[in-house]
Amino acid sequence: MGLPMSKGEIVAGCLAPHPPHLVYAENPEQNEPTAEGGWEQLRWGYERLRASLADVEYDAIVLLSPHWQTYIGTHFLGLPSFKSLSVDPVFPNLFRYHYDLNIDVELSRQIHDRAHEAGLAVKMMENPDFRVDYGTITTGHMFNPAWDKPLVVVSSNRSRDYYSVEVMQEMMMELGRVTREAILASGKKVVVLASNSLSHRHFTTESAIPEDMSKEHITSHAMHLWDMRMIEYFRSGQAQRILDEMPEFTEQAIAESDGGGLSWLLSTLDIPKYPGILHGYGTIIGTGNAIVEWPERLHTEASE
């Protein structure tokens, strides 16, 4: 390992969900549709997350979105910038976003190379016509609406679909470990974001006004219980229990942790034994979403 001076750092790791409804409700100029608000609990949660990190210096954001789905290993955006229009194929009525984002290609390649050395299937994505998925853009926007930090965008390998939650988690723990190593070796200060909901059973209907909050609630009591159980673990520093219960949680709550983001995040954070800060919880068309931050200062305190 290099000198402490040049050592990179994960300044925070966050669970930062991406339903496009959040961007829709914010009415940013980049998004074509307009809303009369909605999902305020979560949008205030993102506000608190941004405030919490306002005074923290960092160089880049490393983000894993379950809506860039790859079956052949893990892919990384590999060009310096991407600019286009992202239309959500599922909620095109809510999300048609003109994005213009920068990539930290150097850090992407460093993570890619370490993952390759560790035996994981990886690929750089270097096709300039590629459209960035709406999950990446929603989380990117909600976390940093100024878009003034370069991103590392990691695809979601669908190993859960191929094999099982257990195999997925094993691969994501490994990817998380090499992501951490690459960040520390890069000398950069980085925020790591896992972009996923918790319980993930949607309504298959949408009210005439999508942002009508009188219609918004969790799809079922069982989903609520699972979400609260996970949040309890987040808040009490029991990341290992989350990993232990990941198979049951992912299957029974149809959780979006199936994309691997949450396991990967906890691995990049060395499986935190210190509490995460819950900035917000809310439902979006019936799915459960939590915004949680694990700040570096708590990590440092816990290891002292």
């Binding site: 789905q69 079956y71 290993g73 194929p89 679909d161 949607h202 298959t204």
Partner: protein, 475 residues
């Protein structure tokens, strides 16, 4: 009036290799050639509409239908981005898309059209339209695959589509963009090393193709869940495209099938199959799943305060009585019988109607809905015989609609009704409502009428009518 019909069905693979890299692997080249052969057959069939059901466009809010007349963009695959980009500009039948959307809603489905600049047409649809319709000569429609939809919903989607094909007199081709086994290699491979991922996947694929080459589409549909468990990566909750395609073909098992190619694409099973509506020898069905005409929907999740008993008006109209009534029979078919798929099945060995000279004698018609057997307005008692509140006006309306369907099947109309004998199980309660609906409907036609009170009818309904009508001329 011209009647629309399906002039052919095709199953085609979804990955971009056939468009971008056919020269890199002999199997991919053969798939490309098979696409070319299918394109020629579609042209020769003089089809005027291509209907794509794509498994690579998942949806959550019901089904979505592309309605942008000219979607244009550049498609890059999420996995195979290194093969290159596919620019596209398609010719979409906007009017058909809107009509299908309405027909879906009529049959109880959640559905919407999509027409936004920059909407990402999915890889399966892009590949299918590029290769089956290279010059955009035939207008197309594309429908999504709902991740939660099961057989009932997917079947009703196909019926709504065929409602519009028939009503608009189209010569349509149905296409499912799908893999057979969809397990790909999880590592990068050299194109020349491509093969089906595993022997088991290959064996299942060959079994499916054997069924299809015998024209046994409904059998494959009924094996959908098994196929899903055996050779499908759980991207969506079921293997649905065969439900849709079989529904488009009236759940037939005696089509004329031909496998134009079967190859591997990065380990997945990729086939081009043609199913012609011409009858072939097979046709045997060993078992049948229920047929579904209308989708009754999920519980009404958006209105949390509603209890199960307090369901919406629509749902209560469709309350099913499948376990509440006598066994159903296929209508008998002797002499000059008139039978209609669009009328409820009989409760004994009799036809819907019979022609004698210039007259048409209808068997007693009740309000039961064809297919679902639901009773609009609700049944008069539950399966334990406990009396239920019901709506006599809704029931009477449904009787008149069923009479209309039978007469139309015979080539006539409701205007032909000459004489009606009506049976009510509760004259005191129901005569007024029944009489109001009569005045609005048959009252205008002017047949003679006799109304009788009786103790019961064979199903839990409150009204039935016995009709004699003018037979339509035989020219």
């Amino acid at each position: 009036m011209s009647t629309g019909e399906l002039v052919g069905s095709y199953i085609v693979p979804v990955h971009p290799h056939t468009v971008l890299a056919a020269d890199q692997n002999e199997g991919w080249a053969r798939l490309r050639d098979a696409f070319g052969e299918a394109a020629q057959r579609i042209k020769d069939s003089e089809a005027d509409l291509l209907i794509i059901y794509s498994t690579t466009w998942p949806s959550i809010i019901g089904h979505q239908i592309i309605a942008d007349p000219n979607p244009e963009w550049v498609m890059v695959d999420h996995d195979f981005h290194d093969l290159g980009s596919i620019p596209y500009s398609f010719n979409i039948d906007e009017q058909f898309a809107h009509a299908w959307n309405k027909a879906n809603q009529k049959r109880g489905l959640k559905s919407r059209t999509v027409a936004y600049h920059g909407f990402p047409i999915d890889v399966g649809s892009v590949v299918a339209l590029k290769l089956l319709n290279p010059d955009n000569a035939i207008p197309a429609v594309i429908v999504s695959s709902n991740v939660y939809a099961n057989r009932a919903e997917t079947t009703v989607l196909s019926k709504a589509c065929m409602d519009v094909v028939r009503a608009t007199g189209r010569k349509a081709v149905a296409v499912t963009a799908m893999s057979l086994s969809n397990r790909m290699f999880t590592k990068h491979i050299d194109p020349k090393d491509d093969k089906i991922h595993s022997l088991k996947d290959d064996e299942w694929n060959r079994k499916i193709l054997e069924f299809l080459s015998e024209g046994r589409l409904e059998d494959v549909g009924q094996l959908s869940r098994t196929i899903h468990q055996q050779i499908r990566v759980n991207k969506v909750v079921a293997f649905k495209p065969m439900w849709w395609l079989s529904g488009m073909n009236q759940n037939r098992n005696n089509l004329t099938g031909e496998v134009l190619a079967y190859e591997a694409v990065h380990g997945a099973g990729a086939a081009v199959v043609h199913l012609d509506p011409a009858e072939s020898g097979a046709g045997d069905k060993e078992y049948d799943e229920d047929d579904v005409e209308y989708f009754a929907g999920e519980r009404n999740v958006l209105d949390a305060q509603e209890t199960v008993d307090d369901v919406s008006e629509e749902a209560s109209k469709l309350r099913s009585v499948e376990t509440n009534g006598p066994e159903l029979w296929e209508p008998t078919d002797k002499g000059e019988s008139v039978n209609s798929q669009a009328a409820p099945k009989p409760v004994g060995a009799y036809p819907h109607a019979r022609r004698v000279g210039d007259l048409l004698y209808l068997s007693g018609v009740g309000p039961r809905q064809p297919g679902t057997n639901a009773i609009p307005g609700g049944p008069i008692h539950d399966s334990d015989g406990v009396a239920l509140d019901y709506d006599i006006k809704a029931q009477t309306h449904a009787v008149v609609e069923n009479i209309t369907r039978i007469l139309e099947e015979a080539g006539g109309s409701i205007e032909d009704v000459l004489d009606v004998t009506s049976f009510l199980v509760d004259m005191d309660r129901d005569f007024k409502g029944y009489n109001e609906v009569w005045a609005e409907t048959l009252g205008h036609v002017g047949p003679t009428r006799t109304t009788l009170a009786i103790r019961a009818l064979p199903t839990p309904i409150a009204v039935e009518m016995k009709v004699i009508a003018k037979a339509p001329s035989l020219e």
